[in-house]
């Protein structure tokens, strides 16, 4: 039994990598993931990656921030300790706007950051998990799950034809930074 877990096709040119994705898809090979050192236009559509739901999270956090700020102001300025400022009514909606606005921004931005960290399993002190070290530097990497796609020779030749500079058969999913 072959112990290979993942096959990595390593490219030094993004266009060749895109060709590689196409020819693998033609052969019916499912792609596990693609790692690139820079964003590549159109790659999400090609890989069929679902649109991020981060904006929805941002909207919800913004609504929470708005509500929280309004409740706080209302409690302090109208309910708990009303003070007469310049003869204005205690519940002065225009004065509430800047703080409500700021809290909306604060909550949605922090909420987005934390949601992003959570969904990507990131937090301070976490050891980064990468499948190939040079994918963060100058190489474009296509990873194919070797357990579900069993025709390894075909995948190899396919990647080679597309212009891969190196093909790795890895027994472990991640490499460490040691």
């Amino acid at each position: 039994m072959d112990s290979t877990k993942y096959i990595l096709g390593i490219f030094d040119d993004p266009d060749e990598m895109m060709k590689g994705i196409d020819s693998l898809k033609e052969k019916g090979v499912s792609i596990y993931d693609v790692f690139t050192p820079m964003p590549i236009h159109g790659i999400e559509n090609k890989l069929g990656i679902k649109e991020s739901r981060l904006p929805i999270a941002a909207f919800i956090f913004g609504c929470i921030g708005l509500t929280a700020a309004f409740c706080m102001l209302y409690y302090m300025l109208v309910y708990d300790w009303p003070i007469n400022i310049g003869g204005k009514p205690h519940f002065t909606a225009p004065n509430f706007v800047p703080i409500c606005f700021e809290w909306t921004v604060l909550f949605s931005s922090f909420g987005m950051v934390f949601t992003y960290f959570y969904s990507n399993h990131l937090f301070p002190g976490r050891t980064p998990r990468v499948m190939d070290l040079r994918a963060t530097n100058d190489r474009f990497v296509i990873a194919v799950n070797a357990k579900t796609n069993t025709q390894h020779d075909q995948i190899d030749s396919c990647l080679k034809e597309a212009g891969a500079v190196e093909i790795k058969h890895n027994d472990r999913k991640y490499v460490s930074y040691e």
Binding site: H41, G42, E51, P55, F59, G86, P94, N95, V97, P98
Partner: protein, 416 residues
Amino acid sequence: MKDLNYNQQFEFSGKAKTYSLIAIAIGFVAIAFGILAGHTERTFANLLLMSYYFASVCMQGILFCAIQYVSQAGWSASVIRIPQAYAKVLPYAAFVLIAVITLGLLTNHTVVEEGKKIVEPYLYAHWATKGIVVKGSENYDAVIAAKSSYLNIPFFFARLIIFLGLYSIFGALLSRYSKNEDEVGGMANYNKSFKISAIFLVVFGFTTPLFAFDAIMSLEAHYYSTMFGWYNFAAMWVSGLAALTLITIILRQNGYMTWITDNHLHDLGKLVFAFSIFWTYVWFAQFLLTYYANIPEESVYFYKRWEPEFKPWFWLNIVLNFCAPVLLLMSRDAKRAATVLKYVCIVVLCGHWLDYYLMVMPGTVGAAGRGFGIEEIGIALGYVGLFTFLMLNALSKTSLVPKNHPFLEESLNHHI
């Protein structure tokens, strides 16, 4: 983009031409109706409003081009002919604005104020009434007299003519360089555009607040707000963007500019969305400071706009210019859907008409003479027709794509 026709030109004929000419005719009928019905002051106020709006949108075209050149933006190269067409219309808009102001300022009518008969001009009566700065005159106003070294008729006209003339010259230069670029290619014209744009932005940035103070804020010359210039700048910028987006979508729906993709619309939509929020920000900053400080000569501005005749419009202004674009354009899909974007742009354009309405009307006709009827709608339609006619006419003179623009390829392959 193999099938792109680099020489595609807009053909100005058929329905677009007929309808814009009909709209202009409606405008003239509305003016005649207003004067015959005895609403001369209201007619002048509407003419000033729409002339100012018209000139602002044309100025925005030059500003848009200049910003694209200075920031060396790539995405906009394929739509830049439209703001260039605005820029070519600015001389006409400037002429119309100055003509309306001249007529309004130099023709007088008699009004009865607090039992006193006063002969005052139709526009800018607040500071241009005869004798208002002469000590001992029954019209004497000490506040206006103190401002008269700046706010007097010759200097007022000089400023208007210099500002609008300067903007027109810059606009003409930018569109000429772009035309030369089409003919000879190379980077020389682009570099010249870059330089002239940088100078223009400095001139424009310092003079538009003054332009807004003169044309609109001086209708109520006792009131002053340093935010007013930026408030008008925001209104000008967002209404121009909405017009640009609307024209792009309509042209694409009629088979022109097929290279405009959802990505370009997305960018335009983002600008309309973002600058609607910016407009609200500036509007609110002005309102909140006035509300909070409650200084009489500042508060009177909002006091007038909170009279029962204006208050519903005052809130509708926020609904149209803030709530509508923010809620309707918030999602990515909405910005990429041409139909949604189109209707939001129409709402924003109407909203900014209302915004200008609230700037102009309380200071001219006041709550008593306020109206929303044949004059308002007819004159607005007339100016829309005039703008469409002149803009499309200018657009049809050159190809719809600047074929030697150095960033054209980037713009055609724009993807976000």
